[in-house]
């Protein structure tokens, strides 16, 4: 704004530039007393709102990580739930001393058909017991001192290996083999079974211990092999082969399914949705303002990138303060406007007629009143938000959203009644707060968490902060622009 300074302005500036007035001693003392009570300002910490947003972000990421591990956990629980025909497998010589390794039921006194249900017994397959498992689908070497009643247990491996129902499993030769407790002790001879050396075998679907050949070297962990019951089944009846646990390549392949970098590129698609956003605006004339935002969104997605636009309504309330200058009403009197006389014959007299008018009297003193008027403002919001999803695990995706918004004032509606002066004489009415401007721009930054409920249905949660470039909600004395924070919740559908 061009300033058209005059010479008088310069004159005043010059003559008063070093003008001073010495404060009184009382005011000086009062200041020094009060200033001594001021606390020492600590370094500006994290604003509470930023802390809340950070905590929410950490919570969302934690949920994502937990859900990421859910498939593995599920597989593990499935593996545990599978039946095993193991008996006394885990029993060690020092079982009594090692409480972490529960003892499997004794083989003696039990039929060979009986299997140990790990879930019930609490037994987990461990490396310590891996010596009882064979990897190769080769005929079982002759097992000396095999358990009794093996002939009676012509249990066969069934595809139910992969089901939750525990099923007895046959050995390689089609016979179930079980270990007696003595044999298990012999097998474990030389091996210390401790809880520290135990390691859960993730992909073990079935626990089927077999007695190793005596010639087999089971004394060292290197000779431990894993029995894959699936290999012992005939090809026709063989269930789908599971990726072998522990293979690095397979593990990587599995992870890549959920990795943005290695996933096949998505074709662009559209997504429509509706959203609701509660928003708190700070640094305004009314300190904090709350607004409800409703919107319909259209998002174009291409891989990890997205652009969202749409239209929405933002509804908020505001209080305007008026300044009313008035004169107090003091009373009224009858003012004589005119008189008229008429002759009355009977009375032989003039009869007066008075013409009066009612006059109100107001005080000459000008007073001020400050009524408040509540108004509702309705804005049309048009966003243009750019998004980048940096993490997708399973049905969850996490990304950032940044972009501008335009707000256009649609309607201003007064909710409270008009000022009623009653019988006061109003001299002037002025509006103290600034008028609402019709257009303002904001910029938004947020974190978007998207969950795919079903094939095309999604829900989104997006905490954000917004900065207003030019808003009606200004606190002039602070010189800062208002800002806001909120949480956008949306339901969307992929087209």
């Amino acid at each position: 704004m061009k300033r058209h300074d005059q010479d008088t302005d310069e004159f005043f500036r010059e003559i008063l530039k070093d003008h001073t007035i010495t404060p009184s001693e009382e005011s000086r003392k009062a200041f020094l007393t009060d200033v001594a009570k001021l606390p020492i300002k600590k370094k500006r910490g994290i604003p509470p709102l930023a802390l809340i947003v950070t905590i929410m972000f950490i919570a969302i990421v934690s949920v994502v990580i937990v859900l990421n591990n859910k498939p593995a956990l599920q597989q593990l629980s499935e593996g545990i739930q599978q039946e095993s025909a193991t008996t006394g497998v885990v029993e060690s010589g020092s079982a009594g001393n090692n409480k972490n390794i529960p003892t499997a039921p004794q083989a003696q006194g039990k039929s060979a058909n009986e299997y140990v249900n790990p879930e019930k017994s609490g037994y987990l397959p461990t490396e310590a017991t891996a010596g009882y498992f064979r990897k190769k689908a080769t005929p079982t070497p002759k097992i000396n001192n095999t358990t009794t009643s093996s002939k009676d247990s012509a249990n066969k491996v069934s595809p139910a290996i992969l089901t939750e129902e525990p099923q007895p499993v046959s050995g390689i030769s089609g016979e179930a083999v079980t270990l007696s407790s003595d044999q298990s002790d012999q097998a474990l001879a030389g091996r210390s079974v401790t809880s520290q050396t135990d390691k859960v075998i993730r992909d073990s679907v079935l626990i089927q211990p077999v007695v190793p050949d005596k010639s087999a070297d089971i004394s060292t962990p290197d000779s431990v092999t894993v029995f894959n019951p699936a290999k012992s089944i005939s090809a026709e009846a063989a269930p789908p082969r599971l990726p072998e646990a522990g293979t690095a390549a397979e593990e990587k392949q599995r992870r890549n399914q959920y990795d943005y970098k290695n996933a096949p590129p998505d074709k662009g698609n559209l997504r429509i949705g509706i959203s609701y956003t509660p928003e708190w605006i700070f640094n305004t004339i009314e300190k904090t303002n709350f607004s409800n935002n409703f919107g319909a969104d259209l998002t174009f997605r291409a891989g990890q990138y997205s652009i969202r636009t749409g239209a929405g309504l933002s509804i908020s309330k505001g209080t305007n303060e008026l300044t009313v200058s008035y004169n107090d009403f003091l009373g009224s009197y009858n003012k004589l406007d005119s008189m008229d006389f008429s002759w009355s014959d009977p009375a032989h007299n003039y009869i007066p007629t008075y013409y009066m008018s009612r006059m109100n009297v107001w005080d000459s003193l000008l007073k001020l009143d400050y009524p408040k008027v509540v108004k509702r403002y309705t804005y049309l919001q048009i966003p243009l938000i750019f998004g980048y999803d940096f993490m997708r695990i399973g049905r969850w995706s996490l990304g950032v959203r940044v972009g501008p918004l335009l707000s256009v004032l649609l309607q201003t509606k007064q909710l409270s009644d008009d000022y009623n002066p009653v019988n006061k004489k109003v001299v002037s009415i002025n509006n103290l707060p600034p008028e609402q401007i019709n257009l303002n721009w904001q910029v938004l930054a947020g974190i978007n968490a998207n969950f795919n409920i079903r094939s095309r249905l999604n829900i989104e949660i997006e905490p954000f902060v917004k900065y207003y470039f030019n808003s009606v909600y200004e606190k002039p004395e602070t010189g800062f622009k208002p800002w806001s924070a909120g949480i956008r919740t949306a339901i969307s559908f992929d087209l």
Partner: protein, 195 residues
Amino acid sequence: MGEEELIKKAISRDQGAMEALYDRYAPALLSLCYRYCGNQMDAEDMLHDGFLKIIGNIHKFRILNHGTLLNWMKRIMVNTTLNHLRERKKERIFIDLDSAEVISDSMASEEDLPPDLYQQLGQEKIHRLICDLPVGYRTVFNLYVFEEYGHREIADLLHISENTSKSQLSKARSLLRKKMNQLVNIQISVPYEKA
């Protein structure tokens, strides 16, 4: 004690530093407050509150961002003063245009006297003339001339229109010129009397 050292000590609430800051800058700031409110008592109240705010926020002062310390203090003091005027509700910052017109009608147009004659009046009289202006004129005049705000900024600060700001400034200048001319004429017309 240098300014930087004073600031550092004031941040850690050193009593001597805060006292030194007050003694150094309070007179200039009191003059500013006086120009806005017109009387010493209110001015000292505003000075008290404003200086507390200055000390409370002195850790935020950055030379690169805020200029000199005195300018930064003046900005805070102006905002504090305007808040006081608003909150106290004794006087409104604006005046009605109708009443303003009445005043303007009574003012005769005056020709400017040479500035060196105005110099004769001295700081105190000119300061007093500004303080005697109606509150609306005075506020706009101070913000425009001394704080060097533009009319748009003044309008935003005082919640008035730009045109109101311009008209009040113009009337303030006219009124001041008229009063200064009257004072100068009085001084010229008083004969010199020997002691």
